[in-house]
């Protein structure tokens, strides 16, 4: 089972990373969502996959019998929700950026680092 998780996680992370490396802002956000889903798999699988029984204590019993590890599930649950909130936030940021700059090309966003020749970095020949 760990192999299935590892392979799916690896493929999804690779695809998500490739999207996030794109110049297109929308693809970057979609890439983040794919990476987020894959990393939740990693978090979950890192807590070991010994049992496929849900960690629910049967009625009348006091202690959890042999079942899946509940702790990583709780952590992953938190991660899913927070990841979702931040994804929505970045989506809004992209829309806002596009409206403000008129482009969704990450390479065109040069306000912080204007292209060379505009006096920010020393030209080679002047030194």
């Amino acid at each position: 089972m760990i192999w299935v998780f590892a392979i799916v996680m690896g493929v999804a992370v690779a695809a998500g990373t490739y999207l996030a490396l794109s110049r297109d802002l929308f693809r970057m956000v979609v890439g983040l969502s794919v990476i987020g889903a894959a990393l939740n798999l990693l978090l979950f699988a890192a807590g070991r996959l010994d049992s496929t029984a849900p960690p629910i204590i049967r009625a009348g019993e006091q202690v959890l019998a042999h079942a899946a590890n509940p702790l990583p599930q709780a952590l992953a649950l938190t991660a899913i929700v927070i990841g979702f909130a931040l994804l929505c936030f970045s989506l809004v940021l992209v829309v806002r950026l596009m409206r403000a700059t008129g482009t969704d090309d990450a390479r065109a966003l040069r306000a912080a680092e204007p292209p060379s020749g505009e006096g920010v970095k020393p030209p080679l020949e002047d030194i």
Partner: protein, 765 residues
């Protein structure tokens, strides 16, 4: 680069101080000198003081003054007193003159610390202090670019050498297992066979050679003449540049028996002496002439330290002393000429004795000693050097170097006294020359007269020099300077030197013109090499800034991910021998199907041309992951993931028309369906690395204590049967509250942004 730093400290000093005010600073060296002489007369050497400073590191405030240190202290305080008096006259009326004297006072204290320290690390601290103070003093006239560049060069060369010295000290201290210099010398015989000893000594050599301006690190010294003249006389002739020689002499009893030590010191010393003598003849600026002859003298001293016989120790001590007694007054003389006649060029300086008789007298007396004529202390030193060389089996290079340097010294002495003061008066001079004030006449006259006095009565300094020599060569018995020479070879050598020196003086202009044409010396010398390296440094910085700081956001991310992946893979690779692959178990069909859906979705995102298709494909990955959770025993996760994924796809689809509308107006991006190989490679490597980490983690022992605690306490303590829910709302309730706050904040931040965006578009909110 250096200007602002120097300028910042300059603001503190008063504008233009008077000579009377500056003379107050001389109280410090005079007091110290008086105390030192009194102590030397009453308390026998050696003196030791010891106090713990950083005991955990073995760094102690350990001071030990033996004969060698005492001689250096006398030079530092004695020459220092006269330099301070001279500086008061020289810098009177100069803006920030008080700052120069303050820095000189600090320098004096740092030098005292350096020559009396008995702890390698303590010595290093004082050593670096002198480098920094030298930088500040060379850059004193920081309005001039030449000054700033010279200061930078002095700091880079001596400071860089200091780092080598530190490395050498650390290695030596580690080998000898002590930081105390005396203990190191005692332990030295056991270190001879250490394989790391040559490396340690090589590092110490670099440090001392940079400080004492030995070839090929000598070029900073002539450039340091941009400093005010008293600074040049004090730091760059009499004291600081001797620090390297001092350290070599200090370590000579420990390593003097090593062939490496002797060969390196004699070779480097001889080459430096020759190189300095050669360049002396290329200069027309009297101060730079003296600077190059100082380089030659320092080379001679290094060579003498390298000579294995004990008589050389006496030669080192005598020459150290003689050099300070004649070179400092000659520098003062140049300062007076500069001050009175407004030039330092020997082309314009002739017949000055009519205008500056006292300066002329001082120059003549100092020149006697520099030329090594009888009745001067320079003669005594020369005798001792001749005797030392006679005892050693010298290679031809060293022998010839000494003769040539001696001859050039005679010529320089003649230029500084005869040519400048006694030649035909040159009427083309602009300013009317005038004699210097008493503060600038007393110091050169006093030092030059002392040189003469000790020359006539060498017995007065005998005890001092003998003790210094014994510190360098413990096997040396009671020696006297007087008794150590034999008249015949000395007089032969003197005649030879005078003959050669006279010839050089007679043909000075011709030699100068010939050497001036030898421009290859400038093009290929170490100084040119330094310039090229300094420029290369700027170019490398600019090139690498352009390479890494290009402003392309996707490339930044690519670089970061590539580095992280490389480091993580390296960590995996290094532990590769210790881990095993987890066993492949049977996988249920639903689980496999869920995985296949996620993989299919992920692969589809790569090929999706349309944004909406892309979004749906990413939703497929999310659904596949959710299904995986479902079949792996995590229904809560699965349902949350289903819900979140659905909502995200809906929200993103809602803003998609907006983005599409914008997209049409924006310049075209490369088509998304075309795969970029480099990015794909990094992405796949990153994904693979995470997979490997997961597989690696699965094989490690696992601590389930926390999970068992939750499993055992959910029902009794929190009265809940779904352990995951209990953890979230009970055991980690505060975390969950924080999580809710994050979601709320994200919404709070997003909504005005979104509204603002609508207003920006011109529509109604």
């Amino acid at each position: 680069m250096i200007g602002p730093a120097v300028a910042a400290t300059g603001e503190l000093a008063p504008a233009t101080p008077s000579a009377r005010r500056l003379l107050g600073y001389a109280a410090l060296p005079l007091t110290l000198f008086a105390a030192l002489v009194a102590a030397l007369a009453s308390v026998p050497l050696p003196w030791s003081v010891h106090a713990a400073w950083v005991p955990s590191l073995g760094v102690d405030l350990a001071f030990h003054v033996d004969g060698l240190a005492a001689q250096m202290l006398l030079l530092i305080c004695g020459v220092g007193s006269l330099v301070f008096i001279y500086a008061a006259g020289y810098l009177a009326g100069t803006p920030r003159g008080g700052r120069a004297l303050l820095l000189l006072s600090l320098f004096l204290l740092a030098m005292i610390g350096a020559v009396s320290a008995d702890n390698l690390l303590l010595l290093f601290v004082f050593w670096e202090l002198t480098s920094v103070l030298s930088f500040l003093l060379v850059g004193f006239s920081h309005e001039q670019e030449k000054s700033r560049k010279s200061a930078q060069q002095a700091l880079l060369v001596t400071g860089g050498g200091g780092l080598f010295l530190l490395a050498g000290f650390l290695l030596l201290g580690d080998l000898a297992n002590t930081w105390s210099i005396r203990e190191l010398i005692a332990a030295a015989p056991h270190l001879v066979d250490e394989p790391l000893l040559p490396l340690a000594l090589g590092l110490v050599f670099v440090g001392t050679f940079t400080k004492s301006a030995q070839f090929p690190f000598h070029f900073w010294l002539p450039n340091a003449m941009a400093a005010p003249t008293p600074v040049s006389a004090y730091l760059h002739s009499a004291t600081m540049v001797k620090l390297g020689i001092y350290l070599l002499a200090r370590l000579d009893p420990a390593f003097g028996q090593l062939l490496l030590w002797d060969v390196v010191l004699v070779a480097v010393g001889s080459i430096t002496a020759l190189w300095g003598a050669l360049h002396t003849l290329r200069e027309r600026d009297l101060k730079r002439i003296l600077a190059w002859s100082t380089v030659a003298s320092l080379g001679t001293l290094t060579m003498l330290v390298g000579l294995p016989n004990p008589a050389a120790a006496l030669a080192v001590a005598s020459f150290l002393f003689a050099h300070a007694l004649y070179k400092a007054p000659l520098f003062f003389v140049v300062g007076n000429l500069d001050h009175g006649a407004g030039t330092r060029s020997i082309d314009h300086l002739t017949g000055m004795r009519r205008y500056m008789p006292w300066t002329a007298a001082a120059a003549a007396l100092a020149a006697l000693s520099m030329a090594g004529l009888p009745l001067s202390f320079g003669f005594v030193a020369k005798d001792v050097i001749t005797a030392a060389k006679a005892e050693a089996e010298l290679v031809a290079l060293a022998g010839h170097a000494a003769v040539i340097v001696g001859a050039v010294s005679v010529a320089v002495a003649a230029v500084a006294s005869l040519h400048v003061f006694w030649g035909r008066d040159n009427a083309s001079r602009d300013a009317h020359p005038h004699e210097a004030p008493w503060t600038m006449l007393l110091p050169p006259l006093a030092l030059a007269l002392l040189g003469l006095l000790f020359g006539i009565m060498p017995a007065t300094v005998d005890p001092l020099l003998a003790q210094a020599a014994q510190a360098m060569a413990p096997e040396l018995g009671a020696v006297t300077v007087e008794a150590s020479y034999d008249a015949a070879p000395v007089l032969t050598a003197l005649a030879l030197t005078l003959l050669f020196g006279g010839a050089i003086y007679a043909f000075w202009d011709g030699l100068h013109r010939t050497l001036e044409r030898a421009s290859w010396l400038d093009a290929y010398g170490p100084a040119a090499w330094y310039q090229r390296k300094l420029q290369a440094l700027s170019h490398i910085a600019a090139w690498h800034t352009r390479l890494l700081q290009h402003g392309l956001l996707d490339r930044y991310l690519l670089t970061v991910l590539a580095v992280v992946t490389a480091v993580a893979l390296l960590a995996l690779f290094l532990s590769a021998g210790r881990w095993q692959w987890p066993a492949a178990q049977g996988v249920s069909l639903p689980l496999a199907a869920a995985g296949a859906i996620a993989v299919a979705g992920a692969l589809a995102t790569l090929r999706a041309r349309d944004r909406f298709v892309l979004l749906l494909a990413s939703g497929l990955v999310g659904y596949g992951c959710a299904a995986l959770f479902l079949f792996a025993g995590a229904p809560d996760l699965a349902f949350t993931q289903f819900a979140v994924e659905t909502v995200f796809v809906v929200v993103a689809a809602a803003v998609l028309p907006e983005i599409r509308g914008r997209r049409a107006a924006a310049p075209a991006l490369p088509p998304p369906a075309r795969i970029e190989p480099l990015k794909l490679l990094v992405a796949v490597a990153f994904g693979t690395t995470l997979s490997l980490f997961l597989l690696r983690a699965a094989g490690l022992p696992f601590d389930t204590a926390l999970s068992e605690f939750f499993g055992a306490n959910s029902v009794p303590v929190a009265h809940g049967h779904n352990v995951v829910n209990v953890i979230i709302v009970d055991f980690r309730a505060l975390d969950t509250l924080g999580e809710i706050a994050v979601v709320a904040f994200a919404l709070l931040a997003a909504s005005p942004l979104f509204k603002l965006a609508r207003v920006g578009r011109g529509g109604t909110p």
